[in-house]
Structure formats: C-alpha cells, structure tokens
Symmetry: C2
Subunit: 368 residues, 2 copies
C-alpha cells in the first residue's frame, strides 16, 4: 500500500538515515513516520534475538511536564505510586481515563523534581495532560520537547553502548537513565526499549544531530554487525509486549491486558489520580476480559494481521484476536487474544478470518 | 513510500471499495486509512471543479456528546456562540486549548438538545472532550459512534444527491443535515464537505453497509460521470481551506489562520469556554502571525510539499510555508504561508528548500 506524504505526518530526525539504510515500509505513530521494516523480516528478527539492532523510534514522543506541580501532575495522571521514583529513574505506567480505560502505556521518566517525561505510545497525551493540568489549575507546563529516541536492542546492545559511552553503562539498571554526551551531541542514555532482548534507548535532545547520531551508532556497532531494524512484531508478540491501540480498544482497562502489577490504588494521594474510582471498582469486581496467547493450528506462515479477528467457541464470540504473526522461534502463527475471563489457557477456540475458521489453542503470555 | 499495515491503523467501511476503485495512495487520519488519490491528480482535480467526485472520508470521525449536559459541554469546548444552533444545523468551530491554541476545527452538528457531534480533523478530541467533561463533572457521555462520512463533492453533486434522495435536497442550506434513508441504510445527509465546489456528506450510521452505500452512490452518479476522488490538496489550497496539523503548529491560534470570524468571545456563558481568557488576550493584542497565500516564481510544476519550508526576507526568517501544490487553475506553484504579521500581500519573499531559494510573492487567501 502506497503512503502519500503530508505535512500533518512528521519526519523523524533519523528519516533520511533510515531511507538510506533501506527502510522498506513505514507506519505512522504519533503523527510521525516510523520505519516498520527493512525488507528482511526474518533476518531482522534473528539479529534482534542474537545480535544487536538499531531502531528509529523518534515517533515515541515525549510529553514533558515542567514546573512546581510537575510531580503532582505526573502522579494525578498515572495510577502508580511515583513517590519513591528517583531522578534518573523511569517507571512503566498505565495512564487511564476517568472510566479506568487505558489511554497510553508510557515510561514515566523523572528528570528532576520539577521535570517529568512520558515516553508515549501512539495516542495524544499532550492534549490530555494539558486538559487535566489546566482544569486542576496546576502550575506545570506541558509540552512536546525536541527529543528523539534511537533504540539499540538485542543481547549485544550492551557491547555497542559500552564502546560508545564507556564501561559504566554495563551497570545501568533497567529503566534508569542519565545525561550523556557523545561527540558533543546532547543526549540522555536509558536502559530500556520495546523488546525483551535487552538494550538501551539514546534520547537525542537536538534533532539537528539526527544523521550524525545514527552514523556514530552504526559505526561503533559495525564490529557487532549492527544493522537497522524496527520495533519487531514477531519478537514483541512472542515476548508478550502490549501494543496500545493495536491490542486495546476504547474500553480496555489495565487489568485486562496484564498491566495490573503496574497499577497502585492505595497509596498516599491516590484519591486524586484520574480514574482511581473506576480502577478500584474493576479490581474489586475483576475485569470482564483478559489477555491470553493464541496459537493457531498449522505450521505454514500466514501474513501479519492488519485487523482484529473474532475468536469463537461453538460459533459464539468469546473475544478478539488483536494481533498475529509468524513466530520464527515457535514455527507457529501466534497472537494475542482479548477474551472473556472464563476463557483459560489450554482451551480450544476458532479464529474467524472472513470465511475461514482456523482452530487454535489459548495459552499463557508470554509464549513459552 | 510503502505503508505497513497494523491493527492500530483502522480501515474505513469503504476501504475495500476504494481499493477496487484504484486507490493509489493512502494517508492516515485519526488512526484510520484515508485514500489520498487514485493515480490521476489532474483528472481528479478537474472532476471536482467541473463535475462530481465521491470521497471516502470515514476518517473524519465523529465525537459524540450525549446526555443532559451535552449542549453545555459543546459550548465549553467551542469558542463560538452555539445558543441559536438548531437541531439539524452544523457550525464550523475552532476548538482551542486553555492557551488559545487551535486543537481541531470540526463541524459541530446539533442532533438534538442532548446530542452533539464534532466531525473532526486529525487530532484526538475524544480524549480531550472526555477530560473536560469529567473534570467539570458534566453529565455527558463522550464516545466515537459508528459513523462514517462519504462525501459527494463538485458542482454536479446536487444532481447526484437529488437522484438518490429526492428533489428536496436541492433546498438544503449549507451545514444543515437531516436523517435520511436510502434502501434501508441508516444515514444522515448533510450539505457540507471539505471543498469549495459545493456538495454533500452522507454520514453512514452502520459500517456494515459501507460497500453497498459506495456502490449505490457510484451507480446513481454514473450519469454524471462520478468517480472516486479524495480530499483534494490542489483545490483546497486554491480555495484557502485549512488543514489542521498541516498548516498549524502547537501554538497556532484561530486568529492566525483566518478563523477569527468563527470565534465568539462575548456571549452569555462565554466565561466557561476553554481558552476564552487567552483568546480575548490574543484578540486584544493581535496575533503574532497570520496566514497568506504564497505564489512561487516559475511555471514548472513542483512536487507536493511534504515538509514546512522557511520563508525568508534578506535571509531573515519571517515565517513558514506550510503546504504547497501545483495549481492547475493558476498554472503556478502555490501554498500557504504562516508569516509574521508585518508581512503583507504583495511582498516579495524567498522560500528555502534545502539549498534552493525560490523567489515568491505573498497574496491574500483564497487565491484569486
């Protein structure tokens, strides 16, 4: 499918570099082009699993809260106790609306007492945070700063990062970050990324250096055969990572999609948090749906899933298959099911793709 | 540029029909695929100007406000006096945030006293309206209903619509709408659309009928040589229609982009409207920038504008060229400039495209 450019859809500071590197497809994410592959899905998958891959994830925009009430605002937006979050630390948070529905699942980064970032998935948290801040008359400016993450992911990512920034980086804790400098480019270095293969994200703080940062990382990584990749559907589905907006609908709450462990409801100040009453109610009653893995029968690779498909039992709909991909590791077509809570791992179901009905088995996530 | 499908990016109920009709490119708009052309830009332009064209604009999503406080909420969100808006009437509104920056420019449709829709441009008003409604404790449910507009645009649109729905449609006033029925498909018919060539929008109220509605319109329009088109950059730029997010940035206010005439600041209840203080201040002081047409020197067609380009005078930046297209009618490359307010029509400027500097003249909008 051909994409028609428009000024509404922004370009990453790494855009030209990704085109030069052979980006074969793009998606849009937060009104920005996001490379979605370089023409060799299996090679990109195994590089991520066994080596090291570099990704333009500038589309993972930052929403900055800054001012005397920034911490208060961050806490009002996130149903997770942030009181012990240190400067230089990030926490995965399930932002919810007043009905307790998940509206984004960013990393909240605390830069200092007066400055927080949400490193967001693909929904508009800039408008949301501004609305809440203004309506509650908080003294916190909400902006989208000039920050563009470049991810370095895979088991050998630590080698590349150590070569670039020094041996100290091997000691960084997960979701921690700090200011760093590379050849006078202003950066934050974080131990994070949207895979379960380990890695780092380099937050570029001045888009003018996009091409130079890309090339610097590519050169340092050459010894480990680094190459361009992108957020990898095969790996993230095997690993059970959520894609907000892909695996969620307008009513999905965090308990339905395995984010309950990141939700705190009973800390000091929790009563101010957006959605807290609804979330407490859902926790008490239990969510209507939950998320399980789906393993389709058959061992011939099917194309990726552009749509949700019904999951049925005896012709009765019991849920939706929200994503689907060929697993190179399991050699099966797999995906996520958002299914009624009486559906459990091991049950047999059918996935309805148009006129086809494909037998499948439910399983726990992540895939074994 | 190849687009990679993802479940985050939804499909219109007309999607299969537009593919069959030869859609040659897509963009994304409100997390939905929006056809952006059928391979013959000039033919599509002249069909819109001289005949009749049909567009899948399902991506123009509706945000529904429903409940006892729906009218109050609509008025709080829109800085325009809606007190005399009748059921069945629409009004173009400039939604602003608390700083007076434009966050969307929808048509507000009043269905009845308890039900309003915003027929939105490409930004997330669902979250925004929910935040304001909840924070102000209003009794209004905010949802995205199953509503998918199909536009019929061009000087002969009235013929096609009369053939489909009856002669009464010729008397419809601009931005008015009513329930209509076509072969048992539930619809609203509105006199509206994102062109200045006249036309209608058929709001399909049940996505299951997408293919049938498309085919019904195509068959009725055949006598007038109707064909698939899309929101037309050439025509909308010539006509001076704003593209939110394309021609605006995070700080653009309605006075900067010629929407001041749709802004009311001094009616009963205005004090409750989001952004009213900021808008009153901007009106008093005058906006920092304003929008003018830009006519580039030279008469060779240039490709469309995927990026903003600097507008300079004597090497000093005075604004941005936010869109650009070849005008078939004027046989010149034209676009919009968002420029400092001391820049006026008739002035000579330069447009900086990478290493190239192209002479240009500022002019009033719409283009003569």
């Amino acid at each position: 499918m051909q994409f028609t450019p428009h000024t509404r859809i922004r370009r990453s500071p790494f855009f030209e570099a990704t085109v030069s590197a052979g980006a074969a497809g793009f998606t849009t994410y937060n009104h920005m082009l996001l490379p979605a592959g370089y023409g060799d899905p299996e090679g990109e998958y195994w590089r991520l699993r066994r080596g090291v891959s570099m990704w333009d994830v500038a589309a993972q925009r930052q929403v900055e809260l800054r001012g005397p009430d920034a911490g208060k605002l961050a806490q009002i937006l996130a149903p997770r106790d942030l009181s012990r979050c240190a400067a230089g630390q990030g926490k995965y948070v399930a932002l919810c609306n007043h009905a307790g529905a998940l509206i984004n699942d960013p990393i909240a980064l605390k830069l200092d007492d007066d400055t927080y970032w949400f490193s967001i998935a693909d929904s508009n948290i800039l408008f949301w945070a501004r609305a809440i801040a203004a309506e509650r008359r908080l003294d916190a400016a909400v902006t989208e700063p000039d920050v563009s993450p470049l991810a370095v992911q895979g088991p050998q990512a630590a080698e590349v990062i150590a070569a670039l920034f020094g041996e100290w980086t091997r000691g960084m804790k997960y979701f921690h970050f700090r200011r760093a400098d590379l050849d006078r480019m202003p950066l934050l270095l974080a131990r994070s990324g949207w895979s379960k293969q380990g890695g780092f994200e380099i937050y570029l703080l001045d888009r003018a250096h996009g091409m130079r940062l890309w090339n610097t990382v590519a050169e340092a990584g050459a010894a480990w055969d680094i190459a361009a990749g992108s957020p990898n559907a095969n790996e993230r589905i095997e690993s059970g990572l959520l894609s907000w907006g892909g695996d969620t609908d307008d009513a999905t709450n965090p308990f339905e999609v395995r984010l309950g462990k990141f939700v705190d409801l009973d800390f000091d100040g929790a009563d101010e948090v957006v959605g807290i009453d609804a979330l407490r109610r859902i926790r008490r009653d239990g969510p209507a749906r939950h998320q399980l893995g789906v393993i389709l029968d058959g061992d011939a690779p099917a194309p990726p899933h552009p749509l949700w498909y019904d999951i049925t039992v005896d012709g009765r709909k019991v849920g939706d298959m929200t994503c689907g991909i060929w697993s190179y590791r399991l050699a099966r077509n797999i995906g996520f099911g958002l299914v009624a809570r009486d559906m459990t791992a091991g049950m047999r179901v059918e996935v309805v793709k148009g006129d086809a009905r494909i037998g499948a088995t439910l399983t726990v996530l992540p895939f074994a």
